[in-house]
């Protein structure tokens, strides 16, 4: 089994996968045993990729100058980080100044109204790259959680009731392949029409992106939950019948635990789709986030833009990978079928 795991995991930065494996409780011995295999080959792969990239990039001239190679991208990555630090520094300085003014105002015995006015001042800097990452993560988490809350109960009912499934199936099959870009205008209009408040808790663009993510995240979870619930081992159902478990107990004690691995498989697929959808949705909805960052840089069109977009691409990929591994970790934790090879 160790051998198959090695070959199958070389794709996705195995050292990290291994660290997460270890966190999720599967054996240290394998980490030590396959260290060379797990470290050298992937490094070799990355190395060859970087060489081909820098050699290839040098050949391409775009309207924004030469296609950046790994070195320029690395440099821009550092600059984005430095910009973030600088922005944080300015924000800290701003709040310090604000505090000083506030204390002076208190000492001068100004009215409570004036004091509140001073307190209400907010720092209005541009969101940095790191801020955009956080926004994206919060948006995808919101959309994904909303989708899971809707999809899992629907999947359970579909799996238990063949008639309900027959009714739902055409809808699922038709809406499943719809691209997020097709949903987005509809969602935008519906959110604008229905979400009308004077004191919005969240911005409209955030809601639009999150709901678009939800619409694309629903389907894999529904389908996998349905399959998981519908294929509970007949012997286990017979045990339940012999014990005369009631409807509720049967669902909680037999059907749900049995379907749990499939539910997690569905959720993992959903999260992967959600993350991809989000970037597209943010670009179009102009919701702050990585998608907007990429779009703004594209519009900006400076000589550094291409390298900055590539930083974003790599970060998007890396975060997608971490999300997937995180779900895999949860899946392993909640999976009773320890023989199943999850990857």
């Amino acid at each position: 089994m160790a051998a198959t795991n090695l070959t199958t995991k070389t794709f996705a930065l195995p050292w990290l996968a291994r660290a997460l494996d270890w966190l999720s409780g599967s054996g240290i011995d394998r980490i030590a045993g396959g260290l060379a295999h797990a470290l050298l080959l992937p490094l070799l792969g990355i190395g060859i990729f970087l060489l081909l990239w820098s050699a290839g990039a040098a050949q391409v001239q775009t309207s924004l100058g030469q296609l950046p190679g790994p070195a320029q991208v690395w440099e821009q990555g550092q600059r984005l980080w430095a910009e973030h630090r600088a922005e944080r520094g300015r924000e800290a300085a701003f709040s310090e100044r604000l505090d000083e003014r506030y204390e002076k105002a208190v000492a001068a015995g100004r009215s409570a109204e004036d004091l509140a006015k001073i307190r209400a001042r907010r720092y209005t800097g541009n969101p940095t790259f790191v801020d955009q990452i956080w926004t994206s993560l919060i948006t995808v988490a919101t959309g994904f959680l909303l989708a899971s809350i809707i999809a899992i109960p629907i999947g359970i009912v579909c799996g238990m009731n063949a008639a309900f499934y027959a009714a739902m199936n055409p809808l699922i099959q038709i809406f499943k392949p719809v691209s997020p870009l097709a949903w987005l205008p509809l969602v935008t209009l519906i959110v604008s029409a229905l979400y009308v408040t004077d004191d919005p808790l969240v911005s409209k663009s955030f809601l639009t992106s999150a709901i678009t993510v939800t619409l694309c995240c629903l389907w894999p979870t529904i389908i996998n939950t349905t399959v998981g619930v519908a294929t509970v081992d007949k012997d286990l159902m017979n045990v339940s019948r012999v014990l005369r478990l009631g409807w509720f107990k049967q669902t909680v004690k037999i059907i749900l635990p049995s379907a749990m691995p499939m539910i997690f498989t569905g959720m993992r697929l959903s999260l992967g789709i959600g993350w991809m959808v989000l970037i597209a949705a943010e670009m179009l909805a102009q919701n702050p986030g990585l998608g907007k960052f990429v779009w703004d840089e594209f519009q900006n069109g400076s000589s550094n833009s291409l390298a900055r977009i590539m930083v974003a691409v790599l970060v998007i990929g890396f975060i997608g990978f971490l999300l997937d591994r995180g779900m895999l970790m949860l899946q392993r934790r909640f999976s009773w079928d320890k023989d199943a090879i999850l990857r």
């Binding site: 007949k234 019948r241 004690k253 320890k338």
Partner: protein, 282 residues
Amino acid sequence: MQSFLKIDHVGITFDTPKGKLEILKDIKLDIAQGEVVSLIGHSGCGKSTVLNIVAGLLRASEGGVLLEEREVTEPGPDRAVVFQQHSLLPWLTVYDNVRLAVDQVFGRTKTRKERDEWTRHNLALVHMEHALERRPHEISGGMKQRVGIARALAMEPKVLLMDEPFGALDSLTRTHMQDSLMEIQARLNNTVVLITHDVDEAVLLSDRIVMMTNGPSATIGQVLDVDLLRPRDRLALAEEPTYHHYRAEVVKFLHERHDKPRLVSSNPPQQEPRALPLAANG
């Protein structure tokens, strides 16, 4: 002999895409309390179907089953089943698997402490008290089957139904399990209906052996009374001519029907193949 469990002219017909298929016809059998009866026959003859009808998991098309004069209409813990594939809930520990059954059957009549003791008692009966916190995938096939038996015994069933309970085990483990079963049955005087295709197992364990003809339309071909003293010891029996006589009787019956049984699944509508999880990308 007073009838405790009565299988009364039971027949069953399934609707298949190719038309009606009669699996069993005219099965009649009276079983006394404390009796161990085994059903033997070629695979596919409908032994499991008989057991499932007694369990209430399947409804007979004709005739019916009476347990203590009351008709069996649905499954229930008074007819506990030990399945061939142990059927333990893989996400529960050994203790919790048995405790689930105990809570379900005695939830109202026993206190929490009594249920805990009863669970432990039954696991001790099958010598599994050392593995209470293990999960099914951590124990051997023989141990799983022991837990399955403990779960069935813990329901205090009127009849213990066993569907080839030791069929999936290696022969050494099977020998141990047969001895344990005899020991427990002697102690608790359970009524047992056991399906087997192992002639030695049938003769060793049973008071009566019910031999079934090949399906479709399988029925009881012959009933053999096994008049061997209990407790039985397999080594001593190996020397005993009567044991070999009974064994020969069963083998003769099975071989007289040596025409290959037509391919009919013993429990057609059950057992769909488990769907594999969709491959996740990664």
